[in-house]
């Protein structure tokens, strides 16, 4: 029995190999893109819309609402990244009910890759919003001596993101596998249902944490001088 789907290799050539993680990632990607493409072919703004359009609007609307509540900013610039993150993790975990399927999120490589994406997305969004100087300045707060700890904090939270998701998904599938050996009837089904729930919760947690990190990086703190300037400009108006 393999702990990670990385170990299941289907094809290998000159250091390039196709393992179960990549393969099932493609499957997930294909499903997501196919559904998106099919559902968004004939979009209408009229009162009568297709069920698929309605379904996707609910999901996207919910993501937008969550991101807006957390960031307290216009959510649209973050939606493609955070939305994709949530949908990928969610669908990857959801498909775990299909026999033979290996969730890509059960691989530390996948969760690590996602965490690395988040790790780089935070400064990209931060710099885009506040400028490089303002962004990197926060590493020196509250004092310059805290800079190493701030950097370590960034790395550690990225690591925590990756390991948390990997641990949960991997443990879920391991538990089911172990229970199948001990009690092959009924109990694994319950654990599988629980695994589905945990999978969705983890997708939510991963996305929310990524949102929080990005929100903290992009939030413009109103300094006293800035507040005074704003009030002054309002009075001028």
């Amino acid at each position: 029995m393999e702990i990670s789907p990385d170990a299941i290799i289907f094809f290998k050539w000159n250091g390039i190999h196709l393992n179960a993680t990549i393969l099932f990632t493609w499957v997930v990607m294909l499903i997501l893109i196919l559904i998106s493409w099919l559902a968004t072919r004939n979009l209408t703004i009229g009162p009568k819309i297709s069920r698929w359009q309605n379904f996707l609007e609910v999901i996207v609307g919910y993501i937008r609402q969550q991101v807006k509540e957390i960031t307290q900013q216009n959510p649209d610039p973050f939606i493609p990244f955070l939305g994709t993150l949530f949908l990928f993790i969610s669908v990857s975990n959801l498909l775990a009910i299909i026999p033979g399927y290996q969730a890509p999120t059960g691989s530390l490589s996948t969760t690590g890759a996602l965490a690395i994406c988040v790790f780089f997305a935070i400064p990209i969004f931060g710099i885009a919003k506040k400028g490089a100087l303002a962004y990197f300045k926060h590493y020196l707060e509250p004092s310059i001596f805290m800079a190493p700890f701030n950097v370590i904090g960034d790395f550690s939270r990225t690591l925590a993101l990756a390991v948390r998701l990997f641990g949960n998904v991997m443990s879920g599938s391991l538990i089911v596998a172990v229970l199948l050996i001990i009690t092959p009837l009924f109990i694994p089904i319950v654990m599988q249902v629980l695994g589905l729930l945990i999978g969705q919760i983890q997708a939510y947690i991963f996305t929310v944490l990524a949102t929080v990190y990005i929100a903290s990086a992009t939030r413009i703190e109103n300094k006293p001088e800035q507040i005074e300037q704003k009030e002054g400009s309002k009075e001028d108006e």
Partner: protein, 264 residues
Amino acid sequence: MLLDSFTIIAQIINFLILIYLLKRFLFNRIIKIMDEREKQITDRMQDAKTAKEAAQKELDEQQRIREELQEKWNEMLAQAKKDAQKKREELVKDARSKIDEEQKNWREAILKQRTAFLRDLRHLSCEQVCQMSRKVLADLAGEKLENQLIENFLIQLGKLTKEEKNDFIRFIDKDERKIWVDSSFQLTGKKESEIRKILEEIIGDKVEINFKVSPKLICGIETRTEGKKISWNIENYLDGLEEQFKKAFTEFSFQESDVEKKEN
């Protein structure tokens, strides 16, 4: 091995591709359509709000017009009632005045008829009494009524007091010195001279006495100056009878009017 560098890189690439594709096929399209719908709903709500405001304004205007019309209608109704009342009063007044006039005419007509009737009655009564007296006197005493009338007339003249005589003389025209003796029958020469004699005694002077038969005097004789008259005729007896008839007529007409009121 839990971490595989190739897989990590491949997954990063996969994830970036997925971000791009989902952005293109899902998020951009869905967000755009959601924003458009939101805008459309906002626009429609704004339109509905505007339309509602316009409708409310129109409703208020209609309400105002209706109240104005109601007020005008009430005023017209009050005026019409007032006019009708006035017209009614005028008509009633007019009708009453007409009724009063007709009643007056009717009363006058009745009065005329009554007067005429009484006059005729008096005349007829006089004639009847005269004829009857004449017959009774002739049958019972063998006397003529005319003679008795003259006799009594002469007696009455003889009984005149001094004041009455002076009063009679005072009205004799001083220039013409004329008096008239009217009778309902032709006087004989003897009777004329008797009368002349006694009148001249009363007057104490010579006057011109004109004897004349007057049909107006039904049964009697009288002497008159310009403003005074001494008469002896049956009419005097009938004055009481006429009064009785008048009274009877009045009572009868009162009773009739009471019956009419009760019937109404």
